[in-house]
């Protein structure tokens, strides 16, 4: 635990930020009953590729993602990394835009959207310019205060649950394969795990601990979907925009002086999302920095800030966010599948080369 603390915290915190908003809606839309099947399918998928990705990285000998690709030569690396870079940009645009929308809907209806987006992006950009160590340490401090709060509210969200809504446990048709919502739900997995390939020179982690942590947050994936389902029933829950947030609004805690504890839950998650945005921004700046070593990191981040913020401003409505989401699906598959597989192959190659060198040196 102590040997992977920062990485684990970042892994948990960034996933928490992504799980509770769009994910329940997508899963509920993807199946009519037996929702645990799509959830577990998605998770098993994530788990397998997470393992492959980390295995490849560890075989590569503690090198980061960009260095591994650069061993293929600059052009090949650029071609392979371009989708990842574009994905990072799009993830930032989508995240900032959609979370600002959520904030507007839930509690800041009078504040202009651009102001919220600016706040949501300016702080992460500043953090990204301070470097990965700052992001990780800040994650620790924030998590120390906000994580207990989030877990407390998560537990109290079971208040109105009717367990009979669990049934039917099995779906007779399994049509979730055909629905786009199921594929959209992979946003919650695909966003953050790539950071494991960027932190190696700064922080260490153990593969097994990370995998156990992934298993540890599986209940959060499950219950983010099941709490609304168990509270409202499938047919009502499927009509909501953000089912989990609506469920939270129903909670009554008599001894608390606050009427809407949703606000504090959402706020904590939005802080987590800001950490996620700064992490992704830092990763994209790392990629640019490797291909353009002369540029200063702050200038790169400044440039990316302008591009991404302009992107956020051009997205006018929620429909456009959804469309971006669907476009993004293809690159997401690239990130989820191709990147771990290529990293694994490159890691094996690097290991073989290193082994060959050792052999030669031994003779």
């Amino acid at each position: 635990m102590a040997r992977s603390l920062h990485v684990l915290l970042v892994y948990v915190v960034t996933h928490l930020g992504l799980i509770f908003f769009m994910y329940p809606e997508d899963i509920i839309a993807s199946a009519d009953e037996g929702h645990w099947v799509p959830i577990l399918t998605g998770f098993a998928f994530h788990f397998a590729f997470l393992w492959i990705y980390m295995k490849g990285l560890s075989r590569g000998g503690g090198k980061d993602l960009t260095s591994l690709y650069l061993e293929l030569g600059k052009v090949a690396a650029a071609l392979l990394l371009l989708p990842v870079f574009v994905y990072f940009l799009m993830v930032n645009i989508i995240t900032i835009r959609s979370y600002s929308e959520i904030i507007t809907i839930v509690f800041l209806s009078n504040t202009p959207l651009w102001a919220i987006m600016l706040l949501l992006f300016l702080i992460p950009a500043w953090m990204a310019s301070l470097g990965i160590r700052t992001i990780f340490r800040a994650t620790f401090l924030v998590a120390a205060v906000c994580l207990p709060l989030v877990l407390f509210i998560f537990v109290s969200s079971f208040q109105n649950v009717d367990w009979r809504y669990v049934y039917p446990l099995l779906d007779k048709h399994y049509t979730f394969w055909n629905r786009i919502s199921f594929y959209k739900s992979f946003f919650a997995y695909a966003g953050s795990f790539l950071f494991l390939g960027f932190v190696q020179p700064y922080f260490s982690y153990r593969i097994r601990t990370v995998l156990w942590t992934a298993v540890g947050i599986l209940p959060l994936f499950l219950f983010s979907v099941y709490v609304p389902l168990l509270t409202f029933g499938e047919s009502t829950a499927s009509t909501f925009f953000f089912p989990y947030v609506v469920t939270l609004d129903m909670i009554q805690i008599n001894w608390l002086m606050f009427e809407r504890i949703t606000v504090f839950f959402l706020m904590s998650l939005i802080i987590f999302v800001m950490l996620f945005v700064s992490l992704v921004l830092w990763q994209s700046s790392q990629i640019v920095g490797r291909f353009w070593p002369k540029a200063k990191t702050n200038w790169i981040i400044g440039g990316l800030f302008v591009v991404i913020f302009a992107g956020c401003l051009t997205v006018r409505s929620w429909n456009e966010v959804e469309r971006l989401f669907i476009w993004n699906t293809w690159i997401r598959w690239y990130v989820l599948i191709v990147v771990p597989l290529t990293v694994y192959a490159l890691g094996r190659r690097a290991e073989r080369d290193a082994g060959g060198d050792r052999y030669a040196a031994g003779r």
């Binding site: 102590a2 040997r3 992977s4 603390l5 920062h6 990485v7 904030i103 509690f107 800041l108 504040t111 102001a115 919220i116 706040l119 702080i123 500043w126 953090m127 301070l130 470097g131 990965i132 160590r133 700052t134 992001i135 990780f136 340490r137 800040a138 620790f140 401090l141 924030v142 205060v145 906000c146 190696q200 020179p201 700064y202 922080f203 260490s204 982690y205 608390l256 002086m257 606050f258 009427e259 809407r260 606000v263 504090f264 706020m267 904590s268 939005i270 802080i271 800001m274 950490l275």
Partner: protein
């Protein structure tokens, strides 16, 4: 100014060396020029002391500053030493037991200014530095003024660097305690002592510190700002890189943990570095309590820091931006308490905060005999008058009183200044973005703390986490 001479012997006469047959022309010239230089620099000062005398049969000239030296006692003790000294034969490089010699005018002036007595040996033209009996210009070792200790030793550091080192030695009787002394300053020298426990302190860190002290050896370290500039820390950071403490127990506790302690002459406290966020909540004297009480105390300080940062901001956010987050009864009573207050919540809070900051500052400035007045006036203004006049809501008074009290629970007065100023970040953000602003401000503060470091040692270092890699 002429030197006082013993009866019937004039300085000029003795300076020309008429009676001293052994003196060579070269030595006499050297001595003459050194004396001239000293007289030109210091001779016009009222406390300049210069006397021709005779020690064990040799004519000498005594020089020094009468304000720093107890002349009578010094002469007395030298005479006593001479009469009791066994045998007259002395090694060549010593004179009357003095082993240090000033060779240039600069060295001589420096020695005089640091309170030494110069003894000119007229026969050879040598200038010896003697340790005189000093005038008692120092405060006794007393109780601390800024920090209070409930359980634990109550001695405090004083202005004198040597006493401070001595106190540290007494508290940490270890052969591994190293003391390195450096004189820093171009115009006037100030001694800086670096203390650390060998084997505990990080050698890389010490190397960087020594390098910095070497580079900045002409800087002015009479203030903390000057010292921070010499040590190369960022001047604009509000996180203090030097944790000051006047309690020897705290300083020694830090030394044992492998940290470095700096003493600066004329500063009555130890400066501990590197600083850590945890210093805000943990004190060495906590260890004198039972363990559960210790944790409770530290938790209290943590809550104090959180309240200071969050509570005023929460008031502004809940009143001005997100009243719906409160339970309806509470929201109504808050609204009722603000009835008739003519300006927005942010302005109200800022005004009252300004008054509280002024009271805090004023009570430091005022002499102790007038101090209670300001407490009383402040109490009346804050407690009664502003509410009756409907200038601020009484809920705000409660909140700001809680904030001020909570703020003073933080360990270390410099740290409490840091937290005190950081609350405005959340306050301003909360006024614009409501509860979101509070959380964003909190993230901002966390990130700011996380970005601070002392020579590569992070402000938010976790001792139990072992995952950080040195590269990068």
């Amino acid at each position: 100014m002429r030197c006082r001479d013993p009866p019937s012997v004039s300085y000029k006469k003795s300076g020309q060396g008429k009676n001293w047959n052994q003196i060579t022309g070269k030595d006499a010239a050297r001595m003459e020029s050194l004396l001239e230089e000293l007289k030109r620099k210091l001779g016009s000062d009222a406390d300049w002391y210069c006397e021709n005398d005779e020690l064990s049969g040799e004519p000498v000239t005594l020089l020094g500053l009468g304000s720093l030296i107890d002349v009578f006692e010094t002469k007395e003790s030298i005479r006593k030493y001479l009469t009791s000294a066994p045998g007259r034969e002395r090694p060549e490089n010593r004179f009357l037991g003095f082993s240090e010699e000033a060779r240039t005018a600069e060295e001589a002036i420096e020695a005089i200014l640091s309170g030494k007595l110069l003894v000119f040996r007229a026969r050879t033209g040598e200038c010896w530095i003697a340790e005189p009996v000093a005038k008692p210009l120092m405060r006794q070792i007393g109780t601390p003024n800024i920090e209070n200790v409930v359980p634990g030793p109550v001695a405090a550091f004083t202005e004198d660097i040597r006493s401070n080192i001595g106190i540290a030695r007494q508290y940490l009787q270890s052969g591994n305690l190293r003391v390195e002394m450096k004189a820093i300053g171009a115009a006037h020298r100030i001694d800086v002592a670096v203390l650390y426990v060998e084997g505990r302190a990080d050698t890389v860190f010490l190397g960087k510190l020594n390098e910095r002290l070497q580079e900045g050896k002409n800087g002015d370290v009479s203030t903390l700002q000057g010292l921070i500039r010499v040590l190369g820390f960022p001047m604009r950071s509000i996180v203090s890189r030097l944790q000051s403490t006047e309690l020897p127990a705290e300083a020694v506790g830090a030394l044992k943990k492998g940290r470095v302690v700096l003493f600066v002459d004329r500063m009555p406290y130890a400066l501990v570095l590197p600083t850590q966020l945890w210093d805000l909540f943990a004190l060495e004297s906590d260890l004198n309590f039972p363990r559960p009480i210790m944790y409770a105390l530290r938790a209290l300080r943590l809550i104090g820091a959180l309240i200071t940062i969050l509570l005023p901001a929460l008031y502004v956010a809940l009143v001005a931006v997100n009243p719906e987050a409160l339970r309806i009864q509470l929201a109504l009573s808050v609204a009722q308490s603000r009835e008739g207050v003519p300006y927005p919540a942010l302005l109200e809070t800022l005004l009252l905060l300004l008054i509280i900051e002024l009271i805090l500052e004023g009570s430091i400035r005022l002499p102790k005999s007038v101090g209670p007045t300001i407490t009383m006036v402040g109490g009346i203004v804050l407690g009664q008058a502003v509410v009756t006049a409907k200038l601020v809501s009484n809920l705000l008074i409660i909140i700001l009183a809680a904030t001020t009290i909570a703020n003073s629970a933080i360990a270390g007065f410099q740290n409490s200044y840091t937290i005190r100023s950081l609350k405005y970040v959340t306050l301003l953000l909360a006024a614009v973005f409501g509860v979101l602003g509070i959380f964003a401000g909190f993230l901002l503060i966390c990130a700011y703390f996380a970005s601070q470091h002392t020579y590569g040692v992070s402000y938010v270092q976790l001792r139990f986490a072992k995952d950080e890699l040195p590269h990068g």
